[in-house]
């Protein structure tokens, strides 16, 4: 039984740092700091207000310590939990608890990566695993390829279904001026692209970019007096089912089933109450798995669900409205960008790509190889 109260905390500021390809020798700490001051400015707060630092990056082992130094915050409450790309959804849950407990009052959650400039091998070197590494899996892609292989085998999902996810993401990206890849893309373009780990081609795989950003969280009471409409944290849930793909209990059923159920219960909402989904699409199969596991369709029907442009602009259910990790930006760990987009959409600030119904959003982070699943349900003022 959770002690956390529905809507007790809110996101009041959100911003990207420089993204795409950043200036030479820009550090991940520079990007986090840039994101933090931009998000504070968005909230109408200043650095002096910050007393909680939540962050994670693969390029600074003790990132919270480094940020405490960078921001000169010796007394800050810090948390640098790292469970891969979903770390930032976990940070939202932790920040909400810390704010409720009075451990901090203005929490920033930050991320930075120079994965594109530094090279993937340097930015995120893989740990040697004696039971997997000798077989030369191209991780993480190979792990997701195996999940896709099982999904195709069990449910008849096709490579065209997977491609539909990538095409929808690209159409959203074409509406987002900050998106990294806005070139036209069709189903054949995905299928005929360079194969990475069958059945996934390079267009089924996320981008490799630089980037970072931050969000600001405060109590619901304090949020009411700030310059932007609060985006309330209605419910959170996490589940870590494994760390390596050979230990995933079931390749077609992810921890999102448990994390989503927990978040829905806390929020008092069901899938039919959700206006949009921001789902961690490191690979095209992810979107299909998470739509199923978060209850937007039955298990095995994700391929059919995404067909005929249902999740693309103009479709019945908006998903990954910034263009996602597949087309907007994917600097190593993507989870923070899901939150930034959901905040923009709920506030109605998203310009050409703004969705019509935008009271509620489900944000779903994924870390590792479908390993660490973390769900956050956000809502605007009408949901409290």
């Amino acid at each position: 039984m959770s002690i956390i109260q529905r809507g007790s905390a809110a996101i009041v500021g959100a911003a990207e740092s420089d993204i795409g390809t950043v200036a030479a020798d820009m550090s991940v700490l520079d990007l986090m700091a840039q994101g933090i001051v931009r998000a504070l400015s968005d909230a109408g707060l200043s650095l002096a207000d910050v007393d909680g630092i939540f962050c994670a990056t693969t390029q600074a082992r003790t990132s919270a310590m480094s940020m405490a130094e960078y921001l000169r915050k010796p007394d800050a409450y810090v948390d640098s939990t790292i469970v891969g790309g979903s770390s930032f959804e976990v940070h939202v849950a932790h920040a909400q608890a810390a704010i409720e407990a009075g451990l901090c009052s203005v929490a920033v959650i930050a991320y930075g990566s120079t994965q594109r400039s530094a090279g993937r091998k340097n930015a995120s070197p893989r740990e040697f695993n004696p039971y997997e590494t000798p077989f030369r899996p191209f991780l993480p892609a190979t792990a997701y390829a195996m999940a896709a292989n099982r999904h195709m085998h069990e449910f008849g999902t096709t490579r065209e279904n997977l491609a539909e996810v990538a095409v929808a993401a690209r159409k959203w990206a074409q509406l987002n001026p900050l998106a990294f890849d806005r070139r036209p893309l069709d189903i054949a373009g995905v299928l005929n692209a360079k194969m990475v780990s069958y059945p996934l081609t390079v267009r089924d795989c996320c981008l490799v970019t630089d980037g970072g950003g931050a969000i600001v969280m405060v109590s619901a009471a304090r949020a009411k007096n700030l310059q932007k409409p609060p985006v309330y944290v209605l419910g959170c849930g996490s589940a870590i089912t494994h760390a390596t793909i050979s230990n995933m209990p079931d390749l077609t059923h992810t921890g999102a089933i448990a994390s989503g159920a927990c978040a829905y219960k806390a929020a008092g909402l069901a899938p039919e109450d959700i206006d949009m989904a921001q789902l961690y699409d490191a690979f095209s199969i992810n979107t299909i798995l998470f739509l199923e596991d978060l209850g937007f369709c039955q298990k095995g029907e994700g391929g059919a669900f995404v067909s005929a442009g249902r999740i693309a602009p103009g479709g019945a259910f908006p998903v990954n409205t910034n263009g996602g990790g597949l087309s907007y930006c994917h600097p190593g760990m993507y989870g923070l960008f899901l939150l930034i987009e959901a905040v923009g959409q709920i506030r109605g600030e998203c310009g050409n790509r703004q969705v019509t119904k935008h009271d509620t959003a489900i944000v779903h982070g994924n870390g590792g190889v479908l390993s660490a699943q973390s769900t956050v349900i956000l809502g605007g003022e009408g949901t409290i």
Partner: protein, 126 residues
């Protein structure tokens, strides 16, 4: 307490050098344990028995990795009949011909040098 003389990985690799595919069995949970550990993950018990697999399994999932250089190759998850799963590869056939449900047999692949041998698989009866 005395320090352990050998690590779980050390024991596993020593058996592989003898041509044996070893795994652990936990009497307290009644289940196979793989990868090898110092405790049973279900019960916390340090009582783990080493057993030898018959080396027969089924392909649970498969992919073909296309490296930047060199030929595409297979990576697969294999379900052993003793009730555990491991990553490996299926050799001896076109990597795209490896399919879910295919029955496979273990054999040792010598990596050479100081590297431990690897457990790999070939199609059963092939």
């Amino acid at each position: 307490m005395e320090n352990a003389k050998q690590s779980p990985l050390g024991i596993y690799n020593a058996y592989l050098r003898e041509g044996k595919l070893a795994y652990q069995f936990s009497p307290t949970s009644g289940k196979a344990v793989f990868y090898p550990r110092v405790i049973c993950p279900d019960t916390g018990s340090e009582n783990l028995e080493w057993r030898f697999s018959k080396g027969q399994g089924t392909v649970h999932a498969t992919t073909v990795v296309h490296p930047q250089q060199g030929d595409p190759f297979n990576v697969a998850l294999i379900d052993l009949t003793e009730g555990y799963r491991m990553m490996s590869r299926v050799e001896g056939i076109d990597p795209m011909a490896v399919k879910i449900g295919m029955r496979v047999t273990f054999r040792v692949y010598e990596q050479g040098g100081d590297e431990p041998p690897l457990p790999v698989f070939t199609p059963m009866g092939g």
